[in-house]
């Protein structure tokens, strides 16, 4: 920088250097290019900001608690602008999934980008200060060297006082620049520590949340399995109840038939219709038959309500659990930086959903006009066991073969109980579910039962 001009005498050279020094000093007030800070403006619409909501909430901080709301209120305009973007984004998400939006915002690349921009700006300032320090140090060293050389020659130095003042001024400047550099380094360090602190806290919060999900979802799955078991057990009892109601109705029909015969006999004996039908004993029979049927009807209604209860509660619980299962997956994906791998479900309000009446699964057999033959339970069981072993040989799950004692214990149906095939099939199907026959075998059950019906029960329909 200095002494690069044509060769001069020592004093002449020193004066030349002092002129250059003065020029440099006057330029010192200008900030060197490398030290200039680029101010990055906050984007109008922040980077990767999600789509605009259909309805922008009037209060973007509505999801904040009192403490955080208070903090938000104290923010400056620029910070509020970013805060509004963040919370308008979160507020667009339905309540139950709002936490996903909060995790997404906390992991948004916007923060890291802003941090890097700011850190880069400080680093730029440090580089600029370094360049200035180096320049002043070099000048000072060269002047000191020149003075030393002039001193050795015993030359008379003009404006010695001014030169000494300049040297002092350069010392002051170096002190100022070093102090500035120290401050900038501290600022950079503080900024990095702050960001690191945010990242660590954010990861800790989300890790804890994922951990809580992990911890809670396992017992939830167990409870859902238990509810499913109850539903299977209910369905088995319901199938048995249908058989019981059929038997009970037959008993009442039998009473009614006997009553009809007696009524006809009384009419034939010469009694008038009024005398017969108004007879208190006959009236009492009518009442008892009606009451008996009413009792069965009431129980059937209770069963229908119970069925709806199990179906709707199970569906509701499954659907709710699904929201949390997907949220857990989503948290992990956000953390790993995988964008939108899981479609978040809307929480479904099952209360308002119409419940579809289960159709009576009579397997189309009810359409048969002819009365179906009835067999004892033990006959059905032994014949069915024989059939599946002969027909499907090795492709029979050990649980598929019915153990009569166990079957009677689970169903409460006696071995002597007679029933049509459709009842046996329904009870057996629900029994298999109750004893947790493997799903692959459950799938085969329907076709196997139908084949059994065609082969052994009603070969004529083949």
């Amino acid at each position: 920088m200095f002494n690069k001009g044509p060769k001069r005498g020592a004093v002449e050279g020193l004066i030349y250097d002092i002129i250059k020094l003065n020029k440099f000093m006057s330029e010192r007030s200008q900030i060197p290019e490398e030290a200039k800070v680029t101010i990055i403006e906050l984007p109008d619409a922040p980077v990767e900001a999600p789509q605009q909501p259909e309805e922008v909430p009037t209060d973007s901080t509505e999801s904040l608690n009192v403490e955080n709301k208070g903090f938000f209120a104290k923010l400056g305009e620029r910070a509020k602008e970013v805060g509004n973007w963040a919370y308008e984004t979160i507020n667009k998400i339905p309540g139950v999934n709002k936490i996903v939006g909060k995790v997404e915002i906390a992991y948004h690349s916007y923060w890291m980008n802003r941090h890097e921009e700011k850190a880069r700006a400080i680093t730029g300032k440090i580089s600029g200060t370094d360049a200035q320090i180096e320049a002043v140090e070099q000048s000072r060293a060269e002047i000191a060297y020149a003075l030393h050389e002039l001193g050795k020659e015993g030359a008379d130095i003009p404006n010695m006082q001014s030169v000494q003042e300049k040297m002092k001024s350069m010392d002051d400047q170096l002190e100022g620049l070093n102090l500035e550099k120290t401050k900038l380094n501290e600022k950079l360090e503080k900024r990095n520590e702050k960001m690191q602190g945010y990242v660590e806290k954010r990861d800790a919060v989300v890790d804890r949340l994922v951990g809580q999900y992990q911890e809670k979802l396992s017992p939830l799955e167990i409870e859902i399995e238990k509810i499913n078991d109850c539903k299977d057990e209910f369905e088995l009892s319901e199938a048995v109840a249908e058989l019981r109601h059929e038997t009970q109705n037959e008993r009442l029909n039998n009473i009614e038939k006997k009553k009809d015969v007696l009524e006809k006999a009384l009419l034939a004996s010469g009694l008038s219709e009024e005398q017969v039908y108004d007879d208190p004993s006959i009236q009492s029979l009518y009442k008892m038959i009606d009451e008996g049927r009413e009792q069965i009807k009431k129980e059937q209604e209770i069963l229908a309500v119970s069925r709806k209860y199990y179906e709707s509660r199970l569906k509701e619980t499954e659907s709710k659990a699904d929201v949390y299962r997907k949220k857990k997956a989503k948290f992990n994906n956000i953390k790993e930086g995988k964008p939108e791998p899981v479609e978040m479900p809307e929480a479904v309000d099952h209360e308002s959903e119409p419940i579809i009446e289960p159709e009576d699964q009579e397997d189309g057999l009810e359409a048969n006009v002819e009365e179906e033959p009835k067999y004892r339970l033990d006959t059905f069981v032994s014949e069915y066991n024989k059939f599946i072993k002969e027909e499907y040989k090795t492709d029979v799950d050990p649980q598929e073969e019915i153990v009569l004692v166990n079957f009677m214990k689970e169903t409460g149906v006696k071995e002597s109980q007679e029933m049509e095939f459709k009842r046996f099939k329904k009870i057996l199907g629900t029994y298999y579910k109750k004893i947790k026959l493997p799903a692959t075998s459950i799938k085969k059950f329907d076709s196997r039962a139908e084949a059994f019906y065609k082969e052994k029960i009603n070969p004529e329909i083949k």
């Binding site: 608690n65 939830l220 008993r251």
Partner: protein
């Protein structure tokens, strides 16, 4: 028809009333037994539903706590925007 024959028919009606009473009693007993079983199954289902409900409440609480903590963090980062 003789009085005896009419009396015989009335006796048969009395007997049928007794039989009908027996049928209704038997049916009621059977249904009562089944009702106990249905209630026992429902009690177990209700207990599991309550447990599931508690777990959902705990998960919602975890969401809320994490949400508040994340809000505080995000607001800290937002406040940084106002600096420099």
């Amino acid at each position: 028809m003789t009085t005896d024959q009419t009396q015989s028919l009335k006796d048969q009606i009395t007997s049928l009333i007794a039989e009908a009473e027996e049928v209704n009693k038997k049916n009621a007993e059977e249904n009562k037994e089944a009702k106990v079983k249905f209630q026992e199954i429902k009690a177990r289902a209700d207990a599991s539903l309550d447990q599931a409900k508690n777990i959902f409440t705990e998960l919602d609480k975890a969401d809320k706590d994490a949400g508040d903590a994340l809000d505080a963090l995000v607001l800290g980062m937002v406040a940084d925007e106002g600096e420099e």
